[in-house]
Amino acid sequence: MNAVEQALSPKAALRLISGNHACALAAVAAGCRFFAGYPITPSSEVAERLSQLLPEVDGVFVQMEDEIASIAAVIGASMGGVKALTATSGPGFSLKQENIGYAAGAEIPCVIVNVMRGGPSTGMPTRPAQGDIMQSRWGSHGDYPIIVLAPASVREIYTETLRAFDLAETCRTPVVLLYDQVIAQLTETVDLADAKDLRNAERKWASGPRETYQPYATGEDGIPAMSRPGAGYRVHTTGLNHAENGFPTQNPEAVARNLGRLLTKLDRHREAIDSWQAIGCADAEVVIVAIGISARAATRALDLARARGVRLGLFRPVTLWPFPETALREATKNARAVLVPEMNAGQLSLEVERILGGKRVDAIHRYNGEPITPAEIAERAEALAKEAR
């Protein structure tokens, strides 16, 4: 039994594990066999653990010269047919942006872990923040689709890492796993017994006649079939806008057709992509919308407020992008107001305001490296409930 099997054995199902280590373990369980990265606090434990785990499953671990090279290597490995991962934080995520756009445009499946720490620039390396909510969606130039998953517990880092690989492979897209320093370096008792049964999806590979294969031609699902290296299909991959044959084009019709397909491809798979948690929203006076450690604080705030006779609800987008807007509208339809606690100067609240246009949306914005507490959320939400009565 190697370290991976041992780690995933039923005997070890209930155990203490850190968020970053849960990510590494889940990556291997999802079939990831390539990691390239450059260590940076507070994401380094993902790399550290994978440097031990990957060699045991005949995988490849490379510490690259920097973050740009890391994402480039990951894209290359994925084009070579291997499930691939990189992990970073803060400035490292900024450096990866150009190639994240390349992966989105050329439709190369890959998973990017971004552990959020204080910013901007090198910011506060060991303190938590949630300041990359918008960057994770819009960080690269031009229009492009991307999936961002925002786990809020160690167990959820495990399950969402599995899902990140599934979605990356089946939708042929980069997927960002976005969580904050608290959850990353939190060690929690977790039960992984039922987490192992999640599906382990495979990429859609090219089959059929080689002569007529077009690398970016698709059917109804909008997902082009990828050619397995050495399978004999003729392939061209580029960051330039391309036609169905994969070669660069500036022909307006071809660009509109192909880019249009790219920009709407995730819309066709929202059922698999969307994920959220709604607690007590149906009869809540105020619904709190939060992710990560702020959502954990909100969970407790619900109890604190209930003890004082105020009904609060929590809507937690697990898939952050594309934002589950229909579910948010449904969860907040009976609420008088919405409160968004977040560790930044105002990002998630912008999206919530956009979706709920007209409804009162208040926010707690915190960017000093100190997590927002349950008491602060309860106090603000209770005041908001009373004002809105």
């Binding site: 209930l14 155990r15 203490l16 606090t41 390396p125 060991t126 608290v182 370096q185 939190l186 060690t187 929690e188 008792t189 450690i293 954990r296 604080a297 969970t299 407790r300 109890d303 003890a307 997590p371 507490t373 349950p374 008491a375």
Partner: protein
Amino acid sequence: MRDARLEIRIGGTGGQGLILCAKMLADALCTTGSRVAQSQTYEPTSRGGYCNSDLVISEREVDFPLATALDCLVLLDRMALKPSLPLLKPGGLVIADTRLCPELPAGHYRLHHLPLSRRAIELGSERVANIVALGALAALAGICERKALEHAVRAETPKSFLDINLDALAAGYRLGEQATPTAALIFG
């Protein structure tokens, strides 16, 4: 409140092994069936600077995993006083090192001023002060079975440190078991 929770902080400076000893305690609690969340605050410097490791213990899954009202506070350096004391519950347990945290402000808490680091130096290395503290905490707070804690210390200790760590744990238990509250420092 959905369920009872117990909160513990081990505070000091970077390099004292605060996170390690909190992990050992978390391991011991986990094997005896408790749900634990262990978090940490540290500075970018690898040695020195304020550092703490917090444990939130519950019979059920922990909702908010960070400390909000400490039941127990271990102080291995005076630097941990200022950020930690305001979080202490009234009447909470404080275990402070006599050498590195010699003076404490008045407050409503049960103080045990113990020679944790001095005992570690006597055992041969100041580096095991964290394990002495762990033993004292376990004895005074009565939060976990000694066997489970010994097992966790064994599991997390490299061979070359095993004997001294087990001695340190035993020394910490003795300090805790023999301790009487320093009455003069109880206010409230």
